[in-house]
Amino acid sequence: MKMAPCWTGSILHVDLTKKQVEIEHPSPEFYRKYGGGSGMGMYYILQEMPPKVDAFSPENVLTLFIGPLTGLPISGNARLSANARSPAGGAIGDSQVGGYFPAYMKFAGFDGIVVKGRATEPVYLYLNNSKAELRDASHLWGKPTADVDEILKQEIGDQNLEVLQCGPAGENLVRFAAIMTMANRACGRTGMGAVMGSKRLKAVVAHGDYKVGAADMATITKWAKWAVKALPDFVDLNTIAVYGSAGTIGSQNATGTFPTHNFSQGQFTEFENLTGERMTDTILKRRDTCYACIIRCKRVVETEYLNRKVLSVYGGPEYETVSALGSYCEVGELNAVALGNQLCNMYGLDTISTGSNIAFAMECFENGLLTTQDTDGIELRFGNAHAMLEMIERIALRKGFGNVLAEGSNRAAQKIGGNASDFLTTVKGTEAPAHMPQAKKTLSIIYAVNPFGADHQSHEMDPIFEEGSTFDKAINRLAQHGFHQIQPAGSLNDEKVRFTYFTELYYSGLDSYNLCQYPFGPFWNLYAADETIEILQAATGWDVTIEEYIKVGERRLNMMRAYNMREGFDRSNDILPKKFYKPLVGTGPTAGVFMDESQLEQNKDYYYELAGFDIATGNPTSEKLEELGLDWIDLYSHTSCDITRQVTT
């Protein structure tokens, strides 16, 4: 097999303890088997990380991988996956980020980076034209992300370079710290920024002249040009393009699925202050994009709140951020949310977990488990925007009560005591994103079984497969994958479980090939299965099929679950927080709705059966791993578990 022209063929291995860098040139077969992204990252994590290492140990392995399309002139190419053991809950960590860094990493001559060890002093990794070196970063330590970006561009003497970095929150080992690019794009979930900080790897800088090729560039160009004309016909994607992801808030609130008051209710009385439309009408300065993407979903806002300016360099809030800092905390002021977004981006915090932790603490406060004596004098009540903003800074800097929340809400609940765990929204230590499993029922399965905890980008949600909310184009695409019977709204049955598992594999494929889930996806997106396969064939020159694509996704999923099994996770960790089993309060169509725990357990049985996992344990089987060509994974060498169980209850 020939090497695909879209790959550089080079993977960088960095040992920070030994201050060494090495370049590996894997075979084309390796690239094809694992796809890219977190598929490749998981291979190296399982190969190189010893079992039972703490997330902040030098032995934790952090992988940063891009995809076959990265750097090609087509929308959705610019994604990077980060993987390592998560400090949030001890399971595998996984997160993706866009911007320009992914393409620039390939221009610098690298497809992936495998980082282990810990530097004695802060360093940054400099990548340029297939060369890599570690440089001193002492002068960058403690600085806000935008300052670090600018300092590096100045001292290297090139404004046309890209920086990936952990912010001060990562340096301070906040367990949900993000990895940032452009100071406004976040590899937000599962604490990958804290792993980077623990290694004293402040940043990765990339620029170079490598020309990314394609076996059939004409086909790449054909689909890139087609998208420009086709986008307006894709109504849901066009909403995200024009109004940003927060353009979905009106819908979320009307359907009672806008998480409010720490996930206690699905409607927020002040939702209209927070919509993407309101943002567009008031504080939006411009739309922004990632490398070569025509969708331009990113927001750039300028405003001020409490005499503090919100600067364009820190971008603007996404739907998840508006929810977590807004409705979760019942803060209905868009300018306050915009400032909160800026604070998270300048310190390098995951906005979802940050807002969740604060909302969790607000519920503890209002239920008498915390007083102002615990919270540094802050009235940590729902609706208190000032308190929300103050807590962000305290978390990032681990000041006062912020030091408690910086450990994540699972650990904070143990410290607070009483019935604080009633107010958690975590699965495997990761706080839930702004989509409600009580109403979008298949989310209950994915939140429970996903190897890295509650996640909204690991399958396709219910509306596309439900009566009343799907549409002809999606129905045709559903049928292509064997889903012929559209399901009743709000249902959860075997067909929905089958839909969940299939779309989980599809999305796992997206995160292996590292394709953005807006232009690429199975049903409502520009590039569905047929187009995606044609584009992958054109980039690689390989006769990739949809079956092979799905197999790549299945491989990633099995590697993640095998990792978790090695660390002592099993079916008993695939559970939802108690809060999701209680009826929602408030108004709207979801008031009184709750998840049924026994039904979820039945759904899990069928899910494990479909996945070929052992039904009793939820773990991968030797037979399944052999079928996937993963029989090099030793499932049974290390199965004991200690702290991970404590933090996932």
Binding site: G98, A186, G188, R189, V235, D236, N238, T239, I240, V242, Y243, S245, G247, T248, G250, S251, Q252, A254, T255, T275, G276, E277, D281, C297, E318, Y319, E320, T321, D350, T351, I352, P433, A434, H435, H456, Q457, E460, M461, P463, I464, E466, G468, S469, T470, F471, D472, A474, A489, Q517, Y518, W524, T587, G588, P589
Partner: protein, 79 residues
């Protein structure tokens, strides 16, 4: 009869920009939600709430003064 329509997100484009997604519209007596959808040329797959209550039956008649909120079901979102 006069009803108030609120169009969310990209559906706003069906009204003049200055309306910012909200308008009073004059429709014949006995009009249904489906008639309003046709009048506004909304795409298939839209959902509707009448006076903040989800209404799945688009043959439901609209009453004078009703507030009709139209939107698309949402699937996901980057963080």
């Amino acid at each position: 009869l006069i009803c108030i329509v609120i169009l969310h997100a990209i559906l706003r484009d069906k009204l003049p920009p200055e309306a910012r997604g909200k308008a009073d519209i004059d429709i014949p007596e006995d009009s249904t939600i489906r008639d309003v959808i046709v009048k506004l040329d909304l795409p298939p797959g839209c959902l509707c709430a009448v006076n903040e209550q989800i209404e799945k039956n688009f043959d439901t008649r609209v009453k004078d003064g009703d507030v009709l909120r139209f939107f698309r079901a949402s699937s996901g979102g980057n963080s």
